[in-house]
Symmetry: C2
């Protein structure tokens, strides 16, 4: 534990924050089940454990972090007017659902051209939808305006200690459910979930390896190896069908955390590989997963993984969400 303690001291989210988050959100969120598949084990020669966050409230892990942040915002300001965020995807649903749990209004800024299904999902949790233009800058301008007008608390998607602590509860649960885990594969966009999982899992078991999984073009191996933010500015979206993980850059809080705690090898998966991963889980394991979940499945089944130490036997695979339109599956 000596090493872990030393590392933890430099990190702005403590294991105790994750424990507190767990206590705080557990009346509302699911303790998601872990599945295994003998076929997956035969294919990989390892033992895979699939953490099913697709069965989480709102259909993705995002419910955890946004709820932790929303409850804390309300604790700090009992007369909170409400929350606001910008997201057409899982985070928007997470913030909308969390506000309903806490009993405050929420406002979600969504590009007007986002699919109706995503807008409806956010509305179904009782959020006010605020449409904006298509440029990244439109989102920011719109949410800042709404925030100021109504005096709302901004719930960030990943780069905030409260959000990270909430996502960390996945790592806490997973290590309790499968203490023998040797490694965990985490689909990663801004890095909130990866940071939270790494903080929790490595505190419990310092030897466990946390691997980042991303679409092609993430540049994260180079950034990790140099310790530098080599990404082009302004922030770019990657060209991938995995819309939940298309941010290229990690956050300013999450990048230093993951530089310390994650493995230097990053699994960059192609769209085709993610689709194969999705298909495996849907056809063989009967779980509906989105492309980002397919990415971690594909990583577990990849040549890169095959070449790694066979002593790394028990692999955790985060199935981060299931919000895919079943009318438009990508095959």
């Amino acid at each position: 534990m000596g090493t872990a303690t030393k590392v933890m001291a430099e990190i702005p989210v403590l294991f105790s924050d994750v424990l507190k988050a767990s206590k705080r959100i557990s009346p509302y969120v699911h303790r998601t089940p872990v599945f295994t598949s003998s076929t997956a084990d035969e294919l990989t020669g390892r033992k895979l454990f699939f953490k099913a966050e697709l069965l989480q409230k709102t259909g993705s892990f995002k419910a955890r972090g946004s709820l932790n942040a929303t409850i804390l915002a309300k604790e700090r300001n009992p007369s909170l007017n409400g929350t606001v965020t910008h997201s057409s995807g899982n985070h928007g649903q997470g913030v909308a659902w969390s506000a309903r749990c806490v009993g405050v209004p929420s406002y979600v800024v969504v590009p007007s051209m986002a699919p109706a299904s995503k807008k409806n999902a956010i509305r179904s949790y009782g959020a006010h939808l605020v449409e904006c233009g298509t440029k990244p800058s439109d989102r920011i301008e719109t949410y800042e305006r709404v925030q100021k007008e109504k005096g709302l608390e901004f719930i960030p998607p990943y780069d905030h200690p409260d959000v990270i602590a909430g996502q960390g509860t996945i790592g806490l649960e997973f290590m309790e459910q499968v203490p023998e885990l040797d490694a965990i594969l985490v689909p990663t966009s801004g890095g909130g979930m990866g940071s939270g999982i790494a903080i929790a899992a490595k505190h419990i078991k310092p030897d466990v390896k946390v691997f980042i999984v991303s679409p092609k073009g993430k540049m994260l191996e180079e950034c990790f190896k140099t310790g530098k933010r080599l990404w082009p500015e302004p922030p770019q979206y990657l060209d991938t069908l995995a819309d939940a993980i298309r941010l290229q850059q990690l956050g300013h809080i999450t990048f230093p955390i993951l530089t310390q705690l994650a493995e230097k090898e990053v699994f960059e998966m192609s769209d085709e590989e993610m689709v194969q991963g999705m298909r495996f889980v849907m056809q063989r394991m009967k779980l509906v997963v989105e492309a980002a979940s397919g990415a971690s499945v594909a990583a577990a089944m990849s040549e890169k993984m095959k070449a790694m130490d066979p002593a790394m036997k028990n692999i955790g695979v985060i199935l981060c969400g299931g919000n895919v339109d079943i009318d438009h599956l990508p095959w």
Copy 2:
């Protein structure tokens, strides 16, 4: 318990057979989870509990009954040469998987025009595939020939006490998991699962209602009410996309059991309603289900159910399987 004991006395499968089956098969099968959905509860005004047999080994509940029958066949005849059945669907996979668990060869007779995916699934569990012609009589002739040639034990799909006792373990588990159940909706073809569930659940809680769910044209309400087998001969298949429940007739063992234990009202669902049920479970609950599972979901959400006693609050919905081709979803 007086009433239940009286009813049980007339039935060829006892609750103790279900308990023994549970002990026998539990090292191999999953104790499948039960899911809830706040959206489903809002839509129906009741509390629904979904028993996820799609997560069972082989992707359907069939693994339970065929394994119980296979283990018992081996116990009765330790020099058993192997097992045989005819089925292109879930029962074929169940028998193939069960034989592998027990360590005996199996032979599954399949119409040559069955989809390659179904044939591959059966082969993947190590069964010998025996192709036959397309007429129902071709199946019977072929399996009888193979059975005789190789001295195999026939594992019937539903009309056998060992199979019924195995399927009954679903009812046992479900009542343990959700003791407050007031009713259970069971997708039904030959009636093995319905019989087993009714025997177990009504022994544990005599007041629980077991409702049969089927495609249109089952004629079962008339048969129940008259106590007579009114079905045309030879046995017919119903015209439905739910291939797992297309048999019109119940079996000669299962019909008298269900006449005594099931409710007289039968839920006959259209293909369109089943598809709506499938879509709900896939899109909102993130579970891959086949049309037969969609049938029980549709029954829970039907006008017929809406008109029933609101005191019947807690409804169990059997999601019997998830073996649907995700490349050819029926919408």
